[in-house]
């Protein structure tokens, strides 16, 4: 029974880090900094859920960072004009879904390679935003902060939203027929087509999903600070893809699950605070994260070599 070996080994590594912290730096386990850490990672988790779908479907979306920035600024402007948050939220998700649908149309409809399509939309959205906004920040009304709640209630709400999405999507991928279609298309699109599945539709929809999730994540981000920075989503795509791949989702599609992606995300997110508490220079963060990613990729490579 090593079907979930890959996921379990990431959970094991995370466990080892957490135990090591308990032994060497118990100060890591203060509730407020931990909650802040989770809150910071909540939007990333939401995007990672979408990215897991996309990668399982044997596609990739590197435009999420730019989509995130565009939606953040647009939603921030609406909120600054006094729109109620309950209205801004669906508009932000819809905008994200539309941007995702554009990617999805190019990839699924015109059958272009997703890495090139999303590279193009990444650059276009980022540059478009710069041209229109000239890097200007958006000042947010106080009422928007933490959805109008107290800071800790807002933080809990954010973590709860992200976890709820993770659990719902994780279960759906296993228990709803559509989830299995994503795996089938990611493994062998032609076989799936011959089995009566519509691979192009499935591919289109995963892009719509990641767009909508990115919209939600952008909302979760703008309520955390008094200003919306137009550069807020820079590098998000790399962070998210790294988490998903470390968590055991095969970059070649068809394999992996959201639980693993979640574990991968937490493992990478723990690096920076762990270093702080262990009094190691923060420069090491990226190097260690890179090492973890390499290790995961090498492990996958060795394993698939063995299988063949």
């Amino acid at each position: 029974m090593n079907r979930y070996f890959r996921e379990l080994s990431v959970v094991g590594a995370l466990g080892a880090v957490l135990i090591a912290m308990a032994v060497f730096a118990p100060a890591f386990y203060q509730p407020q900094p931990l909650l802040s850490l989770l809150t910071r990672e909540a939007p990333t988790l939401v995007v990672a859920c979408g990215m897991a779908l996309v990668i399982i479907c044997r596609q990739i979306d590197i435009s999420v960072g730019s989509m995130f920035s565009v939606v953040s600024v647009c939603a921030g402007l609406l909120a600054a004009r006094g729109w109620p948050l309950l209205l801004v939220l669906p508009v932000a998700m819809l905008l994200g879904a539309l941007l995702g649908a554009f990617n999805g149309f190019l990839v699924a409809g015109l059958r272009l390679p997703s890495i090139v399509v999303t590279l193009a939309t990444m650059v276009a959205l980022r540059q478009g935003l710069n041209m229109v906004r000239q890097g200007e920040f958006v000042n947010m009304p106080d009422a928007v902060q933490w959805f109008g709640l107290s800071q800790s209630a807002g933080q809990w709400l954010m973590v709860a939203i992200a976890l709820a999405l993770l659990v719902a999507l994780g279960l759906a991928m296993r228990h709803v027929a559509a989830g299995r279609f994503v795996y089938a298309v990611g493994t062998d699109a032609e076989a799936a087509r011959l089995a009566g599945i519509q691979p192009q539709l499935v591919t289109f929809l995963v892009f719509v999903f990641i767009g909508a999730f990115t919209g939600l994540a952008a909302m979760m981000n703008i309520v955390q600070s008094p200003q919306v920075q137009p550069l807020s989503g820079m590098g998000l795509e790399l962070k998210v893809i790294a988490a998903v791949v470390v968590g055991g989702v095969a970059i070649s599609g068809g394999r992996g699950n959201l639980w693993g992606a979640f574990a991968g995300l937490l493992l990478l997110a723990c690096v920076a605070p762990a270093l702080t508490h262990l009094h190691i220079e923060a420069y090491w963060e990226k190097a260690i994260q890179g090492g973890i990613i390499l290790l995961a990729v090498v492990a996958d490579g060795v394993r698939s070599r063995k299988q063949n």
Partner: protein, 523 residues
């Protein structure tokens, strides 16, 4: 002293694992001869070529080139010995020019040498002129037509000093005019003393071009015959071998055609096929002049009744799989009418086909039939999600039950429903692919080469399953290149050729008649 033949194969055997692809082939190629190689699909022609070009090492037997026995032949060694192979799809670099492509084949593979562009171009021009090809050495290969690319390949072969040129179905994608050009080049090669091994399914080409023909059947050479051309060699001119007999008047050619076909199919139907036990019922599938320009299917009129197995025979590329793909909505028909149980239908997608009760078990199960990474149970339920899980929520209990039913019913040998599809043998993968479609409770089952690459035991199991399904009232369309199988299993046999239904024959027909129709010869 008589000159040794250019190439001589003696008792050549090649095993792939347990499969004996060549069981003892004798073959001889003389200088200045076009020697045709003929045989059914899977008779061993490709394997034979691969041993001669050094791609595969023979398991037993000898290869002698110009009288010298050769062992441990590699592609490089074969190249040095003057063996060149021209494939149906030329293996050229599309982004490089003709001169560059020729140079890549002929110049030593050292990275640090000066490239002499002028001599490259001159040599290319010379070689192309020698075969009468009007191709500029500077044109990019991607801009050339398929026959032009073949000519470039031939120029490469000439430049390398090839004495043995192998052509594998070179005319498969050529027009009539291009074919004439190619034949002229082949005749020129013959004139200059090159030995040509010519593989083709088209008997008329063999009679037009070849001096001798060797027939392969089940991995054995069953006979070599002198070809008597009935037409002479109008384009050959003075290059003709003087030894070639004058064209005989009358029926000499037809006699030889009949004899060739007899040689190709001469095997007895050794295997026992389960008898047909069902009386055909209502017409399930009715095709009237169905065509599809995109896939080359033309004017097919055919009925398949409930309880009936209709076989589709024909050579590779005859349009059988293409017809199946039309019926499954993969390449929709653009002409004619398709009716299912009396009602006209349009089949524009696999979803349409499934909704109308059509199931298609595709040809290449490893590529398209079974998703190897997914468990058997997932594979079996892949086409029935709507029915098995009406509320879209997967119920693993129902899925396991269905999978276990089929595993028992079709006797799938596996560790259990959760074992990945890739862990099964070929025959058992085929059963999983079949189960996926039987789960849809189809009215019409299309089987495309269901026993290809399946061992003998699993093969007869699949035959019994198909018969039982027909007995239960399923209409079955069986595509098979295995002549005894398609004859033994079918109640009626449709023979396709060039995208058309060439003939409709009764079950248990004479293999000779089926092969004649497949080759386009009158009987």
């Amino acid at each position: 002293m008589p000159a040794a033949p250019l190439l001589e194969l003696r008792r050549l055997v090649k095993n792939y694992g347990g499969v004996r692809a060549l069981r003892g082939v004798d073959f001889e190629l003389r200088a200045g001869e076009v020697h045709a190689l003929l045989g059914e699909n899977g008779a061993g022609k490709s394997t034979l070529i691969k041993t001669v070009t050094g791609a595969h090492e023979p398991t037993a037997g000898t290869i002698a080139i110009a009288g010298q026995p050769v062992t441990g032949l590699t592609p490089k060694r074969a190249h040095e010995l003057g063996i060149a192979c021209i494939y149906q799809q030329p293996a050229l670099f599309p982004d490089l020019t003709v001169a560059e492509n020729i140079a890549l084949r002929l110049e030593p593979a050292t990275a640090s040498r000066r490239v002499d562009w002028r001599s490259r171009r001159e040599r290319a021009a010379q070689l192309l002129a020698r075969i009468g090809a009007a191709i500029s050495p500077d044109s990019e290969v991607r801009s050339l037509s398929m026959p032009e690319q073949q000519l470039v390949e031939i120029a490469c072969a000439l430049g390398a000093g090839a004495r043995i040129v192998i052509m594998d179905e070179p005319t498969a994608s050529l027009t009539q005019k291009e074919q004439h050009l190619l034949f002229a080049v082949v005749r020129d090669l013959r004139k200059s003393g090159v030995g040509v091994i010519y593989i083709s399914h088209r008997l008329e080409e063999i009679f037009d071009l070849a001096d001798r023909v060797t027939v392969l059947r089940d991995g054995e050479s069953v006979g070599t015959r002198q070809v008597r051309s009935s037409r002479g060699d109008e384009a050959g001119g003075p290059g003709l071998l003087t030894a070639r007999p004058e064209p005989a008047e009358g029926s000499a050619a037809t006699l030889t055609e009949a004899e060739l076909i007899r040689l190709m199919v001469g095997r007895e139907v050794a295997q026992i096929y389960p008898p047909s036990e069902s009386a055909p019922g209502e017409v399930v599938l009715a095709l009237r002049n169905v065509g599809c320009a995109a896939s080359g299917v033309r004017d097919v009129t055919l009925d398949v009744r409930a309880g009936e197995v209709v076989g589709l025979a024909g050579l590779v590329g005859a349009g059988r799989t293409e017809l199946a793909r039309v019926l499954f909505g993969l390449t929709p028909a653009d002409a004619g009418e398709i009716s299912l149980r009396g009602a006209p239908v349009t089949l524009h997608s696999p979803q349409d086909a499934v909704a109308h009760g059509i199931a298609y078990v595709p040809e290449d199960r490893r590529r398209h039939g079974v998703v190897l990474d997914l468990p058997i149970a997932h594979n079996m339920t892949m086409a029935v999600h709507r029915r098995l899980f009406p509320d879209r929520w997967l119920r693993f209990g129902a899925e396991q039950a269905l999978a276990l039913d089929f595993i028992r019913d079709l006797a799938v040998k596996c560790a259990g429903p959760d074992a990945p599809g890739g862990s099964l043998s070929g025959g058992n993968q085929q059963k999983v692919s079949l189960a996926r479609w039987l789960a849809t409770k189809p009215k019409l089952l299309i089987l495309d080469e269901p026993t290809q690459g399946v061992d003998v035991g699993a093969k007869s199991e699949i035959h019994r399953i198909v018969r039982r399904l027909a007995k239960d009232g399923l209409a079955v369309l069986l595509i098979s290149s295995d002549l005894p199988e398609v004859i033994g299993m079918s109640d009626r046999i449709g023979v396709m050729r060039g995208g058309r239904l060439q003939a409709m024959l009764p079950g248990k027909s004479d293999p000779h008649d089926v092969m004649s129709a497949a080759l386009g010869q009158g009987t």
